[in-house]
Amino acid sequence: MSSSAVIFSLAGIGLCAIGLFGFMLHTHLIRKLLAFNIMGSGVFLLLVGMAQRSGHTDPVPQALVLTGIVVAVSATALALYLIRRWLQLSGSTELPEDDRR
């Protein structure tokens, strides 16, 4: 049993929760994006940590996380394009009526 894997699975769970909290709390779009990335890192940690608790390294989830990191940076870049364009058009970093559910 690998204690590192268990500890970092826990860390991953914490990051998921903190990320979700930030994602739901903030209306500022860049903060939301930061929260999304934190949540993503949490999921990646959980993916590898949970699979490696027996103490053996597993290349498959590690490869999946590499794929996930590239997907996350693509999504972040795309979101930043949209946010910048929105900022340029409206001068705001929040969506209109974001509080209305």
């Binding site: 999921v43 959980l46 699979a51 498959v60 364009r85 409206s90």
Partner: protein, 515 residues
């Protein structure tokens, strides 16, 4: 040679078309796209033939067997969705070619369109839960790009909302994948369906995945991102989003539900989905009635129709094979007929907006007098959405109704009836506006004949589906994806035999008696 390998062709063609479109000049993009649409149609037809000859096909990518490698698989359900995509996206592509004026806007449409199509095919054929995640991300980002690319303020807000919802949905799905891998050590869907043991981790994993997928499918109350995105995008994009893109996450949900036997293990979750669907029907229909913009009416109608599709889940009962089969057939037919009807309706709405030059409903006054063809296309799609015979929507609702009776869940019946009434109300409301007298004579623009034909073809196809409903449903039995192993051996065959034909007999027998 190539047509012998329809599965790889269905993936390679759209990806290659996307790359080539990015490298070529605008005019050549159009030509490449037409050629690629043609190849896609041929490939999906040849896949259909292959399926009918050989049964379900598995394609081990890189020649590595799952779970080490990733397999693509084409069973009846997957092929149905591939065909649906080819028909709807093919016609939408034609519409887009005519609709978008030459310029950078049109040039940018094609690569995004092709990435979207590649992602859709990838999802229909996928048999690996992580690969589905990558497919979902490709689909979402391409779809967000398509919403944003007109660059207006409204489009940007809609795109950002859509992106945030899609990203959160994907992460929830990935979280589920992480837990499932941690608990079972495999990503292959067929492995999972064999090894899956009910347990805390699996339940939480599937709940997370389901939440993510429902957010992406915009099921009430997670629907708030949909109306601005679908209503605000350019017309061909709206059609693609409502008809195809939201179906991807619903399809994955259905696959998980059936193959991982969630309908057996957690009937309460199925009931919950059903109730969310019922609320979606009521809320979507009500909101569609209160909109002032034509395309928003159509977008809220999508919110309601997703609710209908969700009604299939509580009716998939492990203890009732007849009800389950009817529910699956009804649900899938609902997806197909909604894809055709909603694409047709969005294109018709786009034509009407081209006629009047304004997006408001009130601008429609006089259109039915001067532009009856555009209104006719809209109404034809409305017939299917309302579920009037003999449309595809009617057959779908009829199957769901029968399933509700067979499994003694009568409470879904008033929900369906109420939904039908609401759909009728919002479709007739549009008609009401169009029949108003216009002050002066014919001041409307005339959309091109090609645009009208595209809209009419899709709407008519949704009606036609009601007449030929048996053959898409026949594909669902290749193989019978509902694992009915819980039943005793003999009764299984018996009930299946009973089911194959009589269902449609009763269906059509009764439909003729209706006025």
């Amino acid at each position: 040679m190539m047509l012998n390998a329809p599965i790889p062709l269905l993936m390679i063609t759209p990806l290659a078309a996307a790359v080539i479109c990015m490298l070529l000049s605008e005019r050549s993009r159009l030509l490449v796209s037409f050629a690629a649409v043609l190849i896609q149609l041929l490939a999906s037809l040849s896949l259909l033939l292959l399926l009918l000859q050989q049964g379900p096909i598995t394609h081990p990518l890189g020649s590595w067997e799952a779970p080490l490698g990733i397999a693509l698989r084409a069973d009846g359900l997957a092929v149905l969705f591939v065909l649906m995509t080819s028909v709807v996206a093919g016609i939408a592509a034609l519409y887009a070619a005519l609709y978008l004026t030459p310029g950078p806007l049109r040039a940018h449409f094609w690569p995004l369109f092709w990435f979207m199509w590649a992602a859709l095919n990838g999802i229909w054929l996928a048999a690996d839960i992580f690969n589905l995640y990558v497919g979902l991300e490709l689909l979402s980002l391409a779809a967000v790009g398509l919403v944003a690319f007109s660059g207006s303020k409204e489009a940007l807000v809609a795109a950002i909302r859509y992106l945030l919802a899609a990203l959160l949905g994907s992460l929830a799905y990935l979280l589920g994948v992480a837990l499932l891998y941690g608990a079972h050590g495999t990503l292959s869907l067929s492995d999972l369906s064999q090894q899956m043991q009910p347990g805390v981790a699996s339940s939480i994993a599937l709940a997370a995945m389901a939440m993510g997928l429902l957010l992406k499918s915009a099921l009430f109350p997670l629907h708030t991102w949909l109306p601005p995105a679908h209503g605000g995008a350019m017309t061909p994009v709206s059609a693609l989003l409502s008809a195809l893109v939201i179906k991807a996450s619903l399809y994955i949900l259905l696959r998980l539900w059936i193959e991982l036997r969630i309908h057996e293990l957690a009937p309460d979750a199925s009931q919950l989905l059903g109730w969310m669907g019922a609320l979606a029907i009521a809320w979507g229909g009500w909101m569609a009635l209160r909109q002032t913009l034509l395309k928003r009416v159509v977008a809220y109608s999508t919110v309601a129709q997703i609710g209908y599709i969700m009604l299939m889940f509580p009716l998939l009962r492990a203890d009732n094979a007849e009800a389950s089969t009817l529910a699956l057939q009804g649900g899938v037919l609902m997806v197909l007929s909604h894809a055709l009807a909603k694409a047709g309706m969005f294109l018709a709405a786009g034509n009407l907006i081209l006629c009047t030059g304004r997006p408001e409903l009130s601008a429609l006054a006089g259109t039915s007098q001067y532009r009856p063809l555009s209104i006719f296309g809209f109404g034809l799609a409305g017939v299917s959405l309302m579920g009037l015979p003999p449309s595809g929507g009617f057959s779908a609702k009829w199957l769901l109704l029968q399933s509700a009776l067979a499994s003694a869940q009568w409470w879904w019946i008033p929900v369906m009836l109420l939904g039908g009434l609401l759909s009728a109300a919002y479709v007739f409301r549009v008609f009401h506006y169009s029949f108003k007298e216009a002050e002066n004579s014919d001041t409307f623009h005339r959309p091109g004949v090609g645009l009208e034909i595209c809209a009419l073809a899709l709407s008519a196809a949704s009606i036609l589906l009601g007449f030929i409903a048996t053959w898409p449903l026949h594909l669902l039995t290749l193989p019978d994806i509902l694992p009915l192993a819980v039943l005793p051996e003999g009764s299984l065959e018996q009930s299946l035999e009973l089911l194959q034909t009589p269902t449609y007999e009763t269906l059509h027998g009764t439909s003729e008696q209706q006025p």
